[in-house]
Assembly symmetry: C2
Homo-oligomer: 131 residues x 2
DNA sequence: AAACGGATGTTAGGTTACCTTACATTACAT
DNA sequence: ATGTAATGTAAGGTAACCTAACATCCGTTT
């Protein structure tokens, strides 16, 4: 089992995730409803979150603190996802859109007063050998 | 927050621990009853396990597979605990006992056919930066 | 100002997961 | 054969979680 597997293992119930992220259950479920996260489910339909999910929630929280709305955050996060995909044919229109998002993202990520989160975004990844 | 804290954070419900260790709930509770592990509890009295707890359970399972009984395992594990304590005055009798255990332990640890555990003992620690 | 929509709170009713306790079983040692 | 350690299983109860619905707060639009 490699780190990638470990990071995506469904481990945490929503209660623990609430503590780790200082988000309410309502918020977490709402973000899932809006497809910002996609936690696994137990056989009995209860959510099980991975380290990746928690990291993602911390990012979401971070961006929300900076005034972004969920639609914008969704764009930013999906942008991160496609970056993982190796080579990919892309239409001209898409490229400019993506570049735009890149700019937006670096702008936003810069100016951050810190919130009251117990875990800074990215800190959770220190659970792992490789980042 | 350092790695030591992370390793002892109460994160997992018993259901997840069952999957991680391939132990039954009955077994896990029994080991707690016999003071081999000491998981935290939620406000509602439900067990919450840390990475350390899971590692410990994997060790327990390992030793059980080798034919040790819980009393022996408890000794071995407590032996590991005291090793963390830095310098410590010790009586003559205790020393020989501990040496005996050391020998026992290295003997046992050697000859291991592998069980059907999904996680080898020690593997879980790879969740962390420092081992 | 009023209406709207996004994000979150709250409540209700139902289900799943977990709790302890007690008794049954299995396997090994005496 | 009896005893004990380790585990299974069942019952009854509680905690944690689920969805759905409605309420609230707040910034934006009309």
């Amino acid at each position: 089992m490699n780190d990638k597997d470990r990071r995506s293992m469904p481990l945490f119930g929503i209660g623990i995730v609430m503590k780790l992220t200082e988000l309410t259950a309502r918020q977490i479920r709402y973000y899932e409803e809006n497809e910002l996260i996609h936690p696994e489910r137990t056989a009995g339909n209860q959510r099980l979150f991975s380290f990746n999910d928690v990291d993602r929630l911390l990012e979401i929280k971070n961006y929300l603190d900076k005034g972004l709305n969920l639609a914008g955050i969704k764009l930013l996060l999906s942008e991160e996802d496609v970056k993982v995909i190796p080579v990919q044919e892309k239409k001209q229109a898409e490229i400019s859109k993506r570049e735009l998002r890149e700019i937006l993202k670096s702008e936003i990520s810069g100016a951050g007063r810190f919130g009251k989160a117990s875990l800074r975004q990215g800190e959770l990844s220190r659970f792992f050998v490789n980042r």
